[in-house]
Symmetry: C2
Subunit: 270 residues, 2 copies
């Protein structure tokens, strides 16, 4: 049972809230029941450690069940340890104020650009210059919900392993192929090679969403939550699409606009 | 120029972050450029005070422009004063960490249930037991964007004048009729009188969104962001509709689901 909130281990886990520490360690932090459950279901081999609030397991028996399922899943020569902690230790390790009794330390799951675009994708999502973690995570969740084939996050965007992004994906991070860190020029070139039409989504667009052909393979290109896409990025796309506004609202936020565009793609393809 | 961060005025404005103080004063706080701009455009007569960060006006000339337009708009016998403040005073009055140089204190704009349902509405949004301010505000913004005729927020939901709700509506609070504080039974009875079909939106629904008839008048009924709608509320509706999930995501968040449902309504009606 880990009870010392000042131990090196606690400090090392807590440091994973910072991008530099994540990149140095090649690890990131996963907080909360729903996210950890999906991690155990979809990528159990990427988990290095599970930390469990021993008291919380009395109120939430599913927590112990989850960790046991992960341990049962081990290869014959592999040993998987779950660390019981005090609530204080768990809180100290976390980015969030409510760690919900369990956190994991896991290895990245992103894949190379060629890999996420292999296999004739029908539609994918490209994020560029997205800085807000909640918006980025919600778009990944929306891509998952609509059955998108991949999410590609450019090098100018928030780190997908930022704890706030991880939380707001609610597990979608492990549900579909994700690429990060590529330059937007390379992303566009590879999308073209994969036969995808590039639709920029931006409130300044002149093409309305209901008029876009979405039954053929395509990529949605989404930009910064405050200022949208840069002119040169819009120009590199095949069209600039806007979600129609029927009332007096000036705009939608990024997560809303992305969800509407992605459901239009799903509707056209299913 | 107001510079004393401990004055009674500063304390009274700051207190509007609390529901009890808002109800006692009959006033609420509006923070940020976009929200204040929309307030001035759509409901200038409800503004009691505008507080301006005198230094911020040098960086953002649109702030002074906004306040001047409000003053020009006054009735002949009405006098409208703008209070210049120090940045510290503005920060002290605010709920947010970035007040963006301007805040307003304004009177409520909600209307009676009969009033928001008058005039043969085509579709409206009913929120019940919604507790998260960001979700509530985003749904109001989505209702505005899709041209909904009204938003009705039941008495069991977050206060629409909570500063976080006001911020996340980004001005939509003044763009369409909003009713608050009615009991869900009364809301449903009045919606029936207005000829609206009641569609409950919930992940447990058996009717898929693309199969719902949305060209006839209807109300979308949306529930709590964590546990959805109560069984008795679902049963009081004509059907329970779920947004299809094509991937491995377990669900959408309330704001995403509402946006998709509302755009389906707008698409069917425009």
């Amino acid at each position: 049972m880990i009870t010392n909130t000042r131990s090196d281990r606690v400090k090392q886990v807590r440091a994973l809230g910072r991008r530099s520490a994540r990149e140095k360690a090649g690890l990131f932090l996963v907080e909360g029941r729903q996210a950890v459950r999906e991690l155990i279901r979809f990528a159990p081999e990427t988990i290095r450690d599970l930390y469990l609030d021993a008291e919380a397991t009395e109120r939430h028996p599913d927590l112990r069940e989850m960790t046991l399922s992960w341990q049962r899943d081990a290869e014959p020569d592999e040993r998987r340890f779950v660390h019981d902690c005090s609530a204080q230790v768990l809180a100290e390790m976390c980015d969030t104020e409510q760690p919900q009794g369990i956190i994991a330390v896991a290895r990245p799951v992103d894949r190379a650009l060629e890999e996420v675009l292999a296999g004739s994708p029908k539609f994918v999502v490209v994020l560029t210059n997205v800085r807000d973690p909640g918006n980025a995570g919600t778009v990944i969740r929306g891509a998952d919900a609509t059955g998108a084939d991949a999410v590609i996050v450019s090098d100018s965007s928030v780190d997908i392993y930022n704890p706030k992004v991880v939380r707001s994906t609610v597990g979608s991070l492990w549900h579909l192929p994700i690429c990060r860190g590529a330059a937007i020029e390379d992303i566009f070139a590879r999308c073209r090679d994969a036969g995808l039409t590039l639709h920029a989504a931006d409130g300044v667009g002149t093409t309305l969403l209901p008029d876009v052909e979405l039954s053929t393979p395509h990529a949605w290109v989404m930009g910064n939550e405050a200022w949208g896409l840069e002119p040169e990025v819009r120009e590199a796309c095949d069209d600039v699409v806007r979600v129609p506004i029927y009332g007096a609202a000036e705009s939608l936020n990024l997560a809303m606009a992305a969800t509407v565009c992605l459901y239009a793609s799903a509707g056209a393809q299913h």
